[in-house]
């Protein structure tokens, strides 16, 4: 059961920040609410004020600026993202990853900004954002900031956001070359589950292969050591070495979903598969 709280629908970025600063620790931003409401029901969170961001301008939808990549409003529901032609054609890995979040009904509400602000180590969209080298646009007391996604996650549930600050947009830099991305998520069931381990791989026409991991460290992480191995060689041996490097970077925990040992092994298995499939996808034409 929910405890009483004030619900305020912010009309502008400035108002949202102002309300949040005044509420302090008792305030919470709301987009889709699929994480927030569950925690409020369970009394893990007891905010006095919930500030709805969905009406703030610039927080909805996907806009494409020529030569400048893609700008995604933070409150854009995942299903809208998944169906967006610009996302699908150029940033397919993000659409694929977003599609593995929760269920269809959840994805009608859950937002991209919420998925990353929640900062779960298992956030499904995070590895894709790491590989596209997204910039996280935020608004706070000191106005607008751009934070590289690699510096955004600080630990389980912890981000670079300051008090009163929220994510307003996610900017994906332009990707001039062809690419092919693969997101492999191992859950207990094939759908509607949290990742035990996940690996994203993005093969770029220029020869670069980028790799990121989810659910096997305090934050989603990019594995440059594995990427370095694949810079010059892409044979079976190199893939194996890169997968082993991914495993070495993983620092998972044991919990109710899986043991640390299983997560480590699966990181290596999934990494090898993701790299192989990404390379094969690129060879077959890419996106």
């Amino acid at each position: 059961m929910l405890l009483p709280f004030d619900y305020v629908r912010a009309r502008s970025r400035e108002e949202a920040v102002d309300l949040a600063l005044r509420a302090g620790a008792d305030g919470k931003f709301l987009a889709g609410g699929t994480d927030l409401l569950v925690r409020m029901h369970d009394r893990q969170l007891r905010p006095q004020m919930v500030i709805d961001l969905k009406g703030v301008s610039g927080l909805q939808g996907v806009s494409c600026c020529d030569g400048e990549g893609l700008v995604i409003g933070a409150a854009t529901p995942l299903n809208r993202l998944i169906r967006d032609e610009a996302v699908r054609s150029k940033y397919g890995l993000l659409a694929e990853a977003a599609h593995t979040v929760g269920s269809l009904q959840i994805r009608n509400r859950a937002s991209l900004g919420g998925n990353i602000s929640n900062a779960s180590p298992a956030a499904d969209t995070a590895p894709a954002l790491l590989l596209y080298e997204a910039e996280i646009v935020t608004w706070g007391a000191s106005g607008r900031r751009e934070i590289p996604v690699g510096e955004f996650f600080k630990g389980p549930g912890a981000t670079a956001l300051a008090e009163g600050e929220f994510v307003s947009q996610i900017r994906l830099p332009v990707l001039k070359e062809r690419s092919y991305g693969v997101y492999l998520k191992l859950g207990r069931t094939s759908a509607v589950d949290l990742a035990i381990a996940s690996v994203a791989a993005l093969a770029l026409e220029g020869g670069e292969v980028r790799i990121a991991l989810g659910a096997v460290a305090p934050t989603p992480i990019r594995v440059k050591e594995a990427e370095a191995i694949l810079r010059s060689r892409k044979d079976e041996g190199a893939i194996r070495e890169a997968a082993a490097a991914a495993r070495r970077r993983a620092a998972p925990i044991s919990d109710i979903r899986a043991s640390k040992e299983y997560r480590l092994e699966m990181t290596e298995v999934l990494a090898a598969r993701a790299i192989e499939q990404a390379l094969a996808g690129l060879a077959a034409g890419g996106r």
Binding site: M1, L186, R188, A191, D193, Y262
Partner: protein, 776 residues
Amino acid sequence: MAEKTTYIGTAVVRSDALEKVTGAARYAGDLKFDRMLYVKLLRGKYAHARLVRVDASKARKLPGVKAVVTGTDFPYRMGLYLVDRTPYAVEKVRYYGEPVAGVAAVSPEVAEEALGLIEVEYEELPPVLDLLEAIKPGSPLVHPELHEYEHVPAIFPVPHTNISNHFKIRKGDVEKGFAEADLIVEDTYYVPHIQHSPLEPHAAVALYDREGKLTIWASSQSPFAMRKILSQSLRWPMNRIRVIGPYVGGGFGGKAGLNVEATLVPLAMKAVGHPVKLVCTREEEFRDTFVRQGMWCRLKTGVKRNGRITAQEFEMYWDGGAYTEYGVNVTRAAGYSSAGVYDIPNMKTDSYCVYTNKPVGGPLRGFGHGENHWAIEQHMDQIAHRLGMDPVEFRMINLQREGSTNATGQVLHNVGIGKCLEEAARLIGWTKVTGPGKIEPGVKKVRAKGIACMTKAPAMPNDAASTAIVKLNDDGTVVLNISAQELGQGAFTVLSQICAEELGVRYEDIRIYPVDTDHGAYEWQTVASRITYSCGRAVMEAARDAKRQLCDHASRYFGVPAGDVDVADGRVFVKGDPSRRVPVATLALGATLPDFSGYGGPIVGRGKFIPEGIVAMDAETGQSPKPVANWTYGAQAVEIELDLELGKIEVKKVAAVYDAGRVINPVTAAAQVEGGVVQGLSIGLFEEMKFDERGRLLNPSYVDYKIATAAEIPEMLVSFVEVPQEDGPYGARGIGEHVMVPTPPAIANALFHAAGVRVKRLPMTSESVRWALKQE
């Protein structure tokens, strides 16, 4: 195939389909009344603790609170088979989550706030959490008073221990049997606690009125059994208790007997004239309603080189939880069916129900059988492989057939398992297997097939009965008054089909209304796959009785002998003379004769059924010439794809064949099978309640208690064998529970064929399979 029928064997549309797809169907949670209060329960914070002090005085003073009760206010023990359970903890809490107090208030928010004002002081006691420790001498006792508890004669508690039932089979001479064997195979198996996961959580409303009458509206499989338990425990005449049962949104056994409803009774009695309502949260649904108890077992079988089984020794230990009022019967069911589908001349079975400080064990779809078949059906494959025989061939040698005896010594007739097994093997494309598949280096995924059989009998008292009343309305439409529950299984549809067939009216003209113990025909419980079989027979008889009356009216009306008239498609007619016919309406309230005088009167047909000739099993040997009403057999074959690196099993295809005796509705029957297969698959691969070292449930939500999703549903080939059940309607017998029993062992057997490994502990998660593969 039997005589020509109109509705039997026909895929009529479900009678509740429209109501349910439009959302018009009403469930207990939908009910709202004037002056209604909301109930919240305070739940214990220890697995085992003495209640030193429970002080609810502050809660009572909170504005909006109308009633507060604690255990000492209502210390009545209740139970269907063993009377060991109080609605609220008295003196001790025996599992983490047991109700300590209840509050009824004007809003759920006030009720919740009041819970926070109740002060409880505990003195922690050593919890009994390990099943095998609990049976050791010197273990702390969960119920030191066990020897004082009342129970039905078929239950055998062991006083001053944690064993609340010890069921025994002693058949033939096992020592001699093992001495004759060329090979003895022994192994252990485990099933964890699981939950039913109904769509609709438990919900109930209770009203105690100024005349002293208690009315309960509940999401229940057992309105009549609930009335009986309350009446016995409170020593109230049954006419002071009325139970009304709207549609049930899934039961699977979890809504059998008396459940959360008991906690409402004392609150209703304190808040006279106020209906008090409780809807369980999902967390409560997981932990505080019945769970399927865990079970650890050891199975040992002796076999000749030619494949014939000579002896079996089976020990089962059930993790019964804090109260085993219903769980004791699970233990018994698993005992009497411990031969599975096999003819075993010498048997020794010991099935122990053990108290632990865990959630309360109770019935879950096919109880006892899903658990013991997990062991038996893997064991059969293990023996076959040790003998170098194909598992289907090995089973064929040992299957029960005409004249065989089962564990209870019952001599069997018309046994359909051979046909089921053959057909399941054919549908899956079985080819002879004589051992684990060889995995070629570099291969990452392998496919393999596995098979398992099952049999189950309804676990119920010998006198579990049904009645039916068929009332004709003025216009010839029909009220079918029965008290079977529609749980989603299609009972109302099938019973209406039987009524229409026998009475000669249109299926669409028959209505069944929600169960009401004051006005409805008696029904024991909607459990044990017994409704089509038992209630179906009562309906058949009631419809025939009504038809006899109709024909009597017609005989006078047309002036012909009663044997010369018949009823079909809602019309009464003189046989062979199509011009002489009238709608049923003309004769429903009686016949108006040519001189305008009346004859007969409104038609009410009456029918009843009790399975006859069931003889109690011997207390020491479990032997009986007819221990149960009937046995239903079936077989399932599966094809899996195993991802060797991940350890992940994907079930690609399932062939399921059951001996339904006679299929009344092919679509609802197939749907039952499909639902059962998916539930079986889910139990096989995903489901497990996990507890910490203090007995707290770690996964009381679907975040971490996983059930199969639509993405896991395999291709399903469903087929029926029809060997008639002697006393079933048109030869029909129940299949509702059976259909999920053999899925897990069939998958386990396929896993062995794929990679030569077994996970003898459910569920077969990717991680557990991966470790098994690594050990290999």
